[in-house]
Every structure is written in C-alpha cells, then in structure tokens.
Symmetry: C2
Subunit: 429 residues, 2 copies
C-alpha cells in the first residue's frame, strides 16, 4: 500500500495538543500500517509560541496566525484541541467551509452550537468527528454510530464526570464532601474552581451530546435539567449503603413514547447494577437498546493522553472514510419532542426528618398516596434526637413525587425539606 | 445521497441468520440513512428449505446450492452464520477468492484457520470481518482496531463465556455446581452437552481471536492453555468470599517482554476489580494499554439477536469502507514469540488440606520459599475435621508456583493435591 502524506494542523497545543502530536509521531508506523496514511503536524495554533510545551512542536510549527492554517491548501485535516466556545467556534466553521474535516474534543462547543456546526460540515461535504468530546478514550460515539446501527437505543445512562465520581467514592469510605473535594483538587482531578464538575453542568453537556447521537435528534445543553452533588450529605451515602446501594452522579437520556428526557443528578444505584462498580475517577456509559439489551463501556473519562488517543482515532477514521459518506455526517436526522420535565417515570429515594410522634407516618404516607405514588420500602429511625424516614417509592412520574414532597414539607411534623434522589436499579425503563 | 442496491447472501439461516434478515429488513431505512446503501437478502444457504424459520426468508431465497451464491455476480457481500469448520471454511475461501467480502460469526473457524482465511482475503483484496465471533454484540474487535489504533494494548482480560459466568454467579448464591449447570441448561444458557463451555475451550477460542487482534500477532486455539470450571467446589467460592473476591472464569492475553501468553482458567477476582461485578450470563472484556490505561466493555456475550446485530454492523462497516483499505485487512502484521508456559507472573490463591499438627505450616512455607514464591496472606482453619490452609502468594512465575505445589503435595502432612487459582487484582501486570 503506497503511503499518502497527510499534513495536519492542530488548533491548540496545550496538554492535549502536545499529546496528539506525540501520539502521531510515536505511532506513525502503526497508523501507516493500518491506513496507508502518514500524518504530519505542520501547524499548531497557540497564543504564546514561547511557552514551554509537553512535546516539542518542531521548527516553524507553532503559529499565532489562524489564517496561515485556513489558507494552507496542503492541510486536509484539523484537530481542534484549544477548548472554549469563542473564538473556537468561528475557527471551526471557517475550516469546515474551506473543506477541511475537523476533529474536535470540545464538548462545550458541541453542546451549544452543534446545529450550526453540523449544517456547515454537511454543506461543505466534510466530516466533523467528536469522539474525544465525551469521556475521553471511551469510544462511545463510534460504538453508538457504527456498532449499534441497527439497534434502536432507547436509554443511555452515564457516569460521565470523573471528578464527582472520585468525590462520591471517597465519601463512601467515610470522607466528608469538602475533604473529598480538596483531595480531588490535590490529585489534579478537580479544578481550583470545581463548579462546572460538582454542579453537574459538565455531565449535562456530555449527556446532551450522547442523547443527540443515540436518538438521532438534537439535544442541546439548555434541554438538559441537572443537579450536582454539592448538597449531598454523609447521611445520604449512609442511607444508600443501608439500602444496598451507592450514591453516584448519573446522567440519563431516555426515550419515553417517542419523547426525549435528559437529566443529570445524584442517584442511588443498586449494588448489583453495573454502574455501581464504577469507582474513583472512572467514567462509564451504559447503552440500552432493542437488539443488544445493554452494553456498558467503562474507562478513564479524562486525561490528556486519553483524550489525545480519542482525537487521533477520529483523525484516522476521517482518513479511512473520506469520500464514502459512511456515517460521517450529522447523527441527527429527526426532531423528537422533549418530554415535559415532570413526566419521567422513576423510583425515588426520599429522606424526611420528622417529629417522633404518633400519626406522622400515616400523614406522610397519605401525601404519597394522594399523588398515586406507591411505597416500595420504608425505614424509620432516630437521627440526632429527631426521627427520620427513609422511603423508596415504586416507579412514578417525577412531577408526582415532587408534588407529594411539597405537600409533605408542609406537614407540621416535618422538619425542613425532604431530600429526593432517583433510584437506578433493574426496574428502570 | 442516492441509494445503492446491495444484494447480499447468507450462509446459514438458523437463529442468527433469520435474525440478520429481520434486522436488515426492519432497519433498512436506518441503514440507508447512515450509508446510502440498501441491503437485500437474495440467497440463504440451508440444508433443509422446508424447515420452519424464525423470519420468513422470502420467495426463492432459500437454497441448498452453494454454487448459486458463489456464481451470482450481483452478490457483493456475504454473511457466514452457519457455524462449523467444514464445509464452512471451504465456502468462505471460495467466496473470498471470488472477490466477495465475508462477514463471519464463526469463532471456531477463525481460531483454527485464520492464517489461511486472511491471506486469501488479502490476496483477493476484499474484507473479512468477524466482530460477531467474539462476545456477540460487544464491539470489542472494532474498538481494538479502530479506537485504539495508537494505543499499544499489552493486556486483555475477559469473561468471555456467559454459561460459565452464570454458573459461577449461581454458586456464589449457594448453588452446587451440578444444580447451577442444570439451571443454566433449563434457561437455555448451556447446551445439553456443556463440555465446550465448562471446559474453557469456548473461552480459549475467543481469547485466541482477541489476542491476535490486540497484539497484531497470530494466536491460534492450539496456543492457548485452558482449564475449565468443572473441578470447582463450593469451598473455592467460599474461600474467595472470605478473601474479598469472587470466582470467575477469566481469559488473559498478556505481552511479557515482547512474548505472548494466552490462557483461560478459574480465577479469584478482587471485589473492587471491574470484572468482579460481571454477573449472570454477561460477558466483559478489559483492554489495558499505554494511552488508555484500561477500558472495559460489558454486555450480553451471546444470543441470536445480539449476534445478528454485530453481523449487520460488520456488513455496514464493509460497505462504508469498500476500496479504502482502512483497517480492513488482517490485523496480524508481526510474529511475536510465545511466552514459555511457566513464565507468566501472577499472584495465586492456593488451598491446601493438611493434618492439624505442629510444623505443617513451616514445611509448607519452606516449599514456597524454595521456589522464591513469597506469601502475601495466609489463613489456617479447620474443615471436615482436618485443617486447611488458604494462601495468597505475591506475584510469581506460574511455573515456580506449580513446582512449589508439587513439593507441597509430597509432604506427608498434606492430604490430596493442593488447588491453585490465579488471582486477578490491581497488581496484575
């Protein structure tokens, strides 16, 4: 097989960009053997060419001038690893319009501007691939698109944020939330400002991308309701343990009678559910569909080298399928309605602090019954001098559970607001 | 995108073949949207055209005449779902020589004749894909080849037989081996003659295929040493539990200083290891490599529809990459030496029944020490009136452990032969 020389450009040359370059150089022979192409980085767009780099870029490669990449006709493939929504989005659009395929690792860009990006790629007849934008080296986008082409996927569950999963695993071992967060920061798993991770926003962006690909219908960040782990207390982790479960930050994308629901929130995951065994900073995505029942992919969901590995795999896939039209365009081909927020059916775990006196249980139970929410398990115990009820409901629409909790919160015997966490178990739709 | 009509043929029309046809018909629009191709089954080779089928083949499709498929020039893609090594192997070779790409679900054929098959495919310039030959709908072949193109995978661990995993999970809940096997047969997870599954032979064939793809070097069934679960006793499961582990039938393919070791056997898997959470008839494959650390894929490893889903995905991949040369040829490009059987380093769990008298422990410990095998954990307890030692060693070459066990078996205080099971934990190379 004759080797084809492929000059490529990188937008960005930070941790991921330098790792992409290193993988391309160190594995040049593997890539050539597999594809017949030799990839060579000729430009890398940076802000400060003088800065120290993880892998030397080579003479004349670093540039601050985007136009020099856009206008270099020899460049037939670009990897966007600079992050951010602007000016990145404008650059990617310009490259696509110029007929250059783009591989991106940028989940924020995709979760916010995918409609425009894919339309532009389609119009220009070039590919835009984005495996690295979700869970780094876990190849969930490729598997969804190529391996499950005849499987109607109706549900995606994911632990798609390693920072929060690390914190929750540490809390399981007895650490307090703040200490676990501080440890995650010390180990480099969490940013100095951890808001994007612990609020659930990062997971929400990833679930928007996964839902779009799984259901073939556009889901953007604004369509995803999310809640983080910052309100979690040791009691929740302890209650989960006593119920044979663990607490995880779970994203779900669900098709309910042809309508799409995507949400992220802390959940009680049954110990026998495969997601319960995902520990530390790892990620996992479970795909449920007709022909496959369920398939789970688990691995490191972050890291410079892991992300770079996915970027390079996408670059190789672009080369292998140029001009064939094979599954390379926009994954979205239909426009499904969004499920109204209160209608997703799920079982819930509810923690209610109450006065320890007769009749309380009957009052609480009646409020659930009023909303048609039936109770699967109930345990009453004494915490800090007052009593607490731990309730697990049967599957019920989330809005009904919320309405019941509002009514319960107004009962005079109830202290404070009840907490509710979704339960993920085998009963899930 | 103009639609291309693709007449396809099936070799075999049993459970998998009928399911392939059904998926192709029911998802024809999905496939056309993704690929621009419309796949249409025009022939299906069977022994008895009069037999009842899971999905009607359509007028004139069933045939007993292989030549009618081989000589039909309109047929540009064939799926082999008939199983067996002969006459299947001859048919596949004829089809490849005639320039027809073949997708196969046949692990026995691949594990025994892959050298010849791939050489023929390469010479004819056509693809032979085989995702469905290993773990049904779990897309481990595609992920290894396409997503990990720049990751040097150095170890593959797999629970690749659902029958034995179901039996082991039931034994964990207290069932005896024979009862668990009978239950598996009742539920359709095990054949009337379960030898191929419980002996480890089925797992060995799959591990040979996985090792070949992961390391790019041919491994055939004869290169794999294997042991089954038929000698396992409830005591092993109980001892595993007390050591914080579970018993699983684990296949490993390992690169040790450039040499290949592939083996299958019952192992103690630490509860915190991701493979420990694989329950019931599910399969899982863990890939360990440079750039990805570790990636695990878990799902149903058998089933007609699941297998058919992988066959169809391969057919779609053949279409999407025709003529590009992209990762479609033989995965093997080098010939690595095989590691001598006794040299794989691993920790071991050893169960030894001994007389309950002074000095026994010292004698046993001395035999391990003679072979340089150091002991990580040891528990002595009384079973059935005699004493038993449960030993976990540090990592040591398997041959050294075997030699120590031979010496221990010859000690006058030792009753019967000691059992040894490999330990799979985070220490694994």
């Amino acid at each position: 097989m004759a080797s084809v020389d492929v000059p490529v450009a990188l937008l960005g040359y930070g941790t991921v960009g330098a790792a992409v370059h290193r993988l391309l150089e160190q594995n040049a022979e593997d890539i050539e053997r597999a594809t017949g192409h030799r990839l060579r980085v000729v430009h890398a767009l940076v802000r400060d060419p003088g800065k120290e780099r993880g892998f030397a870029a080579g003479e004349g490669v670093l540039t601050t001038d985007f136009a020099s990449i856009l206008e270099d006709e020899s460049v037939t493939l670009v990897a966007e690893v600079m992050g951010g929504v602007e000016p990145t989005g404008g650059y990617v659009l310009d490259l696509l319009r110029a007929g250059k395929p783009v591989v991106t690792a940028n989940k924020q860009l995709l979760a916010r501007r995918s409609t425009e990006l894919f339309a532009t790629a389609a119009e220009a007849g070039v590919q835009m691939r984005f495996e690295a934008s979700v869970c780094a080296a876990i190849p969930v986008i490729k598997v969804l698109r190529e391996s499950l082409v005849v499987t109607n996927v109706h549900r995606v569950l994911g632990i798609v944020n390693g920072t929060t999963n690390f914190i929750l695993t540490r809390m399981e071992s007895g650490a307090a939330y703040q200490d676990a967060l501080a440890e995650a920061q010390r180990l480099g798993y969490a940013e100095a400002d951890p808001t994007d991770d612990v609020s659930g926003a990062d997971s929400a962006a990833k679930m928007a991308i996964l839902a779009s690909v799984a259901f073939g219908s556009r889901v953007e960040l604004a369509d995803v309701s999310y809640e983080g782990i910052d309100r979690l207390r040791p009691e929740h982790v302890e209650a989960a343990r006593s119920l044979g479960a663990v607490v995880r930050l779970v994203g779900t994308a669900t098709l309910v009678d042809g309508a799409v629901d995507v949400r992220v929130g802390p959940a009680l995951v049954d110990r026998h559910h495969p997601l319960a065994s995902v520990e530390g900073p790892f990620n996992a995505v479970m795909l449920q569909g007709d022909a496959i029942r369920e398939l789970m992919l688990e691995g490191p969901g972050a890291g410079g080298l892991e992300t770079a590995s996915a970027v390079v795999a996408d670059m190789v896939s672009v080369l292998g399928t140029t001009g064939t039209g094979f599954l390379q365009g926009d994954a979205c081909w239909r426009s499904l309605p969004k499920l109204p927020p209160g209608e997703l059916p799920a079982p819930y775990y509810v923690h209610i602090e109450v006065a320890d006196r007769p009749g309380v249980l009957a009052h609480v139970a009646a409020r659930f019954a009023d909303e048609g929410v039936s109770i699967a398990r109930l345990a009453q115990h004494v915490v800090n001098g007052s009593a607490a009820l731990d309730v697990v409901t049967h599957t019920a629409p989330s809005g009904r559970v919320a309405t019941a909790l509002d009514a319960i919160a107004r009962l005079p015997e109830v202290h404070g607001l009840p907490d509710a966490l979704r339960v993920i178990d085998e009963r899930g739709i």
